[in-house]
C-alpha cells in the first residue's frame, strides 16, 4: 500500500573517495543494509533497514561512512509530528501494538538535571579523597533498631543477612534471553571484580555462571523460569520482581524463536516454546501474599540471603513501598519509568509510571515518617546515567543504585533501541551465535570495571567536596541538594530547597 510507505528514518552517507569496497560494512550489518553491486563494483545501501546502531561506521577502516537522520519531512506540525503520523501508518497497516525497546526516549523532564550538588567553602573544609579515607562501601539489608542481649549481657547476634557492596552500584536485572551469554559473562565477571552484584533477571542462571554466585542476585518473577532450589542457593540475594519501570503492570514474552538449546536449559522450558511471564504473580494479591513469597524464599534458603522486592515507580509508590517494607523484604528496588527493556509496548513504556527521582524521594520520606526506614534498604534504578545521578539518588535516600542501560553502553550498545528484533550488531541483545561472539567478555568486563571505577572516583571527589567521607553520611542528606527551575510542589516532593535558599 503506498500510504504505508515510510521514508527511511536514516540515510547512509558513503564517501566514494574513501570507500575501498572492502565489504566489511556488508558483513557487519545483520540488518542487511549494505550490499556490494557486482555490476558497478561499488557498495550500495538499503537505508530502509538501517537502525542507526553505528556498527558499520565504527568498523569502516577508511571512515567512509556516516549515518544521518533524514531531512525528508512531513509538513511541519507541532501537534501531528512525523513520529505521530508514522505510528498511525504502522498501526493502520498491521493492527498491531507498537513495540519498542530500551528506556523511554521522550523529552519529559529529567529531574536529575534540575538538581545541583553542594560543596564546602571556608567552613567544614572539603576532603581530598586521594589523601584521606573515603568510604563508598555500603551494606544492603535490614538494620536493627536496637541491640538485643542475653541474660549474661552478651549481644545476641541476630543481624539479618546483609549484602556488602564495595561500590554503591549494581548491575540490574537483564535476563539471559533478552541479552546474550557473552553479556552475562562480562557482567558477572565485572561484578565479582568490583565487589558488587549483577542480577540474572527472570531467565534463570546459566550453569557456567554458578561460580559467580556470591556476586549474583537471582530473580524470581511471575513466570518462575529456572527457579529451583539450587538456583536460589546459588545467589547472594534473591529478588522478587513485581514490576519493571519500562512496563509497569504488564508481563513479558520471550518468543519461542529466541528459546534455543542454551536458553531452554537455563529457563528450564522446552526449546522453541514461548516464555510467558504473566503480568501478576498469581499467588500475590496483597501485601500478605507478598509476605508469603518473601518468607517461602527465606525458608527455602534458611534465612541466609536478603530478599529484594523490585517494584516499578507508579503513582502510589510510597504507599506500596510501605507495604513492601512490612512484608519482610530486606531491600526495596524502585525502577523509574525511564528504565530499559528488551521489548515493551511503546505506549506503556512512554506513558506509564513516574520518574525515579520523585518516587525515590517520596518512598524514603514515607518510610521515615512511618519509622520503618531502617527495616529496608532502598535501591534506585531506571536511568542512572552518571556518577552525579548516583550521588543525587543517594542523597535523596537510596542505599545504592542499579544500572543497566549504562552498563550495556559500556559493553558497546549504541542505543539504537531495536533490541526486540534480536539482531543486535554489537552482540548484546541477540542470541545469534555469529553476533554474540562479537562481544568479547574479556573486553566487556574490563570496560564495565573501568566505568564503575571511574564513577566511584567521581563519587568520592564530589563527596569530598561536600566534606562528607562516607556513604552513610550522604544517604538521605537532602541538604546537600538544591533544585533549579523547579516548582514548589516539585521541591516539596523531592524534599529539597531551591538553589539560593
Amino acid at each position: 500500500m503506498p500510504i504505508d510507505f515510510l521514508y527511511p528514518e536514516y540515510e547512509v552517507i558513503r564517501n566514494p573517495g574513501r570507500c575501498i569496497s572492502c565489504r566489511i560494512c556488508e558483513r557487519q550489518c545483520a540488518n542487511g543494509v549494505h550490499l556490494f553491486d557486482d555490476k558497478t563494483k561499488k557498495m550500495t545501501a538499503d537505508e530502509s533497514k538501517c537502525v542507526c546502531c553505528h556498527r558499520c561506521v565504527s568498523l569502516c577502516p577508511t571512515r567512509a561512512l556516516k549515518i544521518v537522520k533524514t531531512d525528508h519531512a512531513f509538513k511541519e506540525n507541532a501537534n501531528w509530528t512525523g513520529k505521530a503520523i508514522t505510528e498511525i501508518y504502522r498501526q493502520a497497516g498491521t493492527g498491531g501494538m507498537l513495540l519498542s525497546s530500551m528506556g523511554n526516549p521522550e523529552p519529559q523532564p529529567i529531574y536529575w538535571d534540575k538538581i545541583l550538588i553542594n560543596a564546602s567553602q571556608v567552613t567544614n573544609p572539603p576532603i581530598d579523597p586521594l589523601r584521606e579515607p573515603m568510604e563508598t562501601r555500603t551494606f544492603l539489608g535490614k538494620k536493627p533498631g536496637h541491640i538485643e542481649r542475653d541474660a549474661q549481657g552478651n549481644i545476641v547476634p541476630n543481624l539479618s543477612p546483609q549484602l556488602a557492596l564495595d561500590v554503591p552500584v549494581m548491575f540490574s536485572a537483564m535476563s539471559y534471553g533478552s541479552i546474550s551469554y557473552n553479556s552475562h559473562a562480562a557482567l558477572a565477571r565485572a561484578a565479582a571484580a568490583l565487589g558488587t552484584y549483577y542480577n540474572t533477571g527472570e531467565g534463570g542462571l546459566h550453569k557456567d555462571f554458578y561460580g559467580y554466585g556470591p556476586h549474583t542476585i537471582v530473580q524470581v518473577a511471575s513466570g518462575r523460569f529456572g527457579v529451583y532450589k539450587e538456583y536460589l542457593e546459588a545467589g547472594a540475594a534473591i529478588e522478587i520482581k513485581m514490576g519493571q519501570g519500562a512496563k509497569p503492570g504488564i508481563g513479558g514474552h520471550l518468543p519461542g524463536l529466541k528459546v534455543g538449546p542454551d536458553i531452554s536449559k537455563t529457563r528450564m522450558i522446552p526449546e522453541g516454546t514461548d516464555a510467558i511471564s504473566p503480568a501478576p504473580h498469581h499467588d500475590i494479591y496483597s501485601i500478605e501474599d507478598l509476605r508469603q513469597l518473601v518468607y517461602s524464599l527465606k525458608e527455602a534458603t534458611g534465612y541466609q540471603k536478603p530478599v529484594f522486592v523490585k517494584i516499578a515507580a507508579v503513582h502510589n509508590v510510597a504507599a506500596i513501598a510501605s507495604g513492601v517494607a512490612r512484608s519482610g523484604a530486606d531491600v526495596i528496588c524502585i525502577d523509574g519509568y525511564r528504565g530499559g527493556t528488551g521489548a515493551a509496548p511503546t505506549r506503556i513504556r512512554d506513558n506509564v509510571g513516574i520518574p525515579v527521582e520523585l518516587a525515590l524521594a517520596a518512598v524514603d520520606q514515607r518510610l521515615r515518617d512511618e519509622g520503618i526506614r531502617g527495616q529496608v534498604s532502598i535501591v534506585a534504578g531506571g536511568s542512572i546515567r552518571n556518577s552525579a545521578d548516583l550521588l543525587k539518588a543517594i542523597a535523596l535516600g537510596a542505599d545504592a543504585c542499579y544500572i543497566a542501560t549504562a552498563a550495556l553502553l559500556a559493553l558497546g550498545c549504541h542505543l539504537c533501541r531495536t533490541c526486540q528484533a534480536g539482531k543486535c550488531n554489537w552482540g548484546i541483545a541477540t542470541q545469534r551465535p555469529d553476533l554474540v561472539e562479537r562481544l568479547d567478555p574479556e573486553t566487556g568486563y574490563q570496560r564495565l570495571v573501568n566505568l564503575v571505577t571511574a564513577w566511584d572516583h567521581e563519587l568520592k571527589e564530589m563527596m569530598g567536596g561536600m566534606g562528607i567521607n562516607s556513604i552513610e553520611a550522604l544517604r538521605g542528606n537532602r541538604l546537600m541538594l538544591r533544585g533549579l527551575g523547579l516548582t514548589q510542589k516539585e521541591l516539596d516532593i523531592l524534599g529539597i530547597k531551591h538553589a539560593g535558599e
Binding site: 498491521t94 532450589k229 522446552p270 504473566p278 498469581h282 517461602s296 527455602a300
Partner: protein, 240 residues
C-alpha cells in the same frame, strides 16, 4: 522422628525439621504452620493436622503426605517429589510447578496448576479427586492436570476461566459432557486411548492412596483440554 507442631511458630518448627537428621519425619498436630518442607529434598514428611500456606514450595525431591487439608500455594514452583493430600487443598496449588506430582483426594481452590511447565524429563502432574475452582490451569505451559470430579455427578468439575492463556500442557476432566464457555485458547476433545494410557499411572497412584479401581476409573468418559495453536498467546506487534 515425630515433631509435635501444636502452636510452635513456623520458623521454629521448620528449623526443627531442617535440623532433624532423620529421613522420615512426622509432624503431629499441625496448626497452620507455613512453608513446611520448602526447598527440601530426600526426606519423607508426614503431616497430621492442617499445614499452612506454601507447603512444599520449591520442593526438590521430598515426599510429603498430609492427613488433613492443605491450604494455599501447596507445591509452589515445585521441581520434583510428591505431595499427597488426604483432604482438599486451597488456592494456587502447584503454581509454576516444573516436575513431580501432587495428589489431592478432594477439591482444589481457585487458580490450581497455574503456569505449570514441563522440561526435558520433568512433567508436573496435578491430580484433583473432586472439583477445581475458577482459573484452573491458567497460562498452562506444560504438564498434566487431571480433575476426577468425584461427587460432582458427571458435571464438568471446573469453574470459570479454565485454561485461560494456556499455551502448552494438558487438562483432563472426567465428566459426561464437554465443559462450556471455555476461552478461545483452549481446544476440547474426547480422551483417546493414548490419553487414557497417559492417565493410568496417575489414576493408579490416586487409587493406591485414596482407594478405588484405577482400571475402571480410566475407562470412564474424559474430556481433554489442549492449547489452540490458532489462538496462541502471540499477540501481533508492530516494531516501532
Amino acid at each position: 522422628m515425630v515433631i509435635q507442631a501444636n502452636l510452635t511458630h513456623f520458623k521454629t518448627l521448620n528449623e526443627q525439621i531442617r535440623a532433624c537428621p532423620d529421613a522420615d519425619i512426622t509432624v503431629g498436630c499441625c496448626t497452620g504452620q507455613r512453608y513446611i518442607a520448602s526447598g527440601m529434598s530426600g526426606r519423607r514428611i508426614t503431616v497430621h493436622g492442617t499445614p499452612g500456606n506454601a507447603l512444599g514450595a520449591y520442593l526438590d525431591g521430598c515426599t510429603i503426605e498430609v492427613f488433613g487439608n492443605a491450604q494455599d500455594a501447596t507445591g509452589d514452583t515445585m521441581n520434583s517429589g510428591e505431595i499427597i493430600i488426604h483432604g482438599s487443598c486451597g488456592d494456587a496449588t502447584g503454581y509454576g510447578m516444573r516436575g513431580g506430582r501432587i495428589l489431592v483426594e478432594g477439591d482444589c481452590g481457585y487458580r490450581g496448576g497455574i503456569h505449570m511447565k514441563a522440561y526435558e524429563g520433568q512433567l508436573p502432574v496435578l491430580v484433583i479427586g473432586g472439583q477445581a475452582g475458577s482459573f484452573l490451569g491458567e497460562y498452562l505451559a506444560g504438564g498434566l492436570i487431571i480433575v476426577l470430579g468425584r461427587g460432582v455427578g458427571g458435571l464438568p468439575p471446573v469453574s470459570y476461566f479454565c485454561g485461560t492463556g494456556m499455551h502448552g500442557g494438558k487438562i483432563v476432566l472426567r465428566c459426561d459432557e464437554a465443559p462450556q464457555g471455555l476461552p478461545r485458547q483452549v481446544l476440547v476433545s474426547e480422551a483417546t486411548a493414548a490419553d487414557r494410557a497417559e492417565l493410568l499411572p496417575h489414576l493408579e497412584a490416586y487409587c493406591r492412596r485414596f482407594g478405588g479401581d484405577a482400571q475402571a476409573l480410566a475407562a470412564e468418559r474424559y474430556f481433554v483440554l489442549t492449547p489452540n495453536p490458532e489462538a496462541g498467546y502471540k499477540q501481533l506487534y508492530t516494531f516501532n
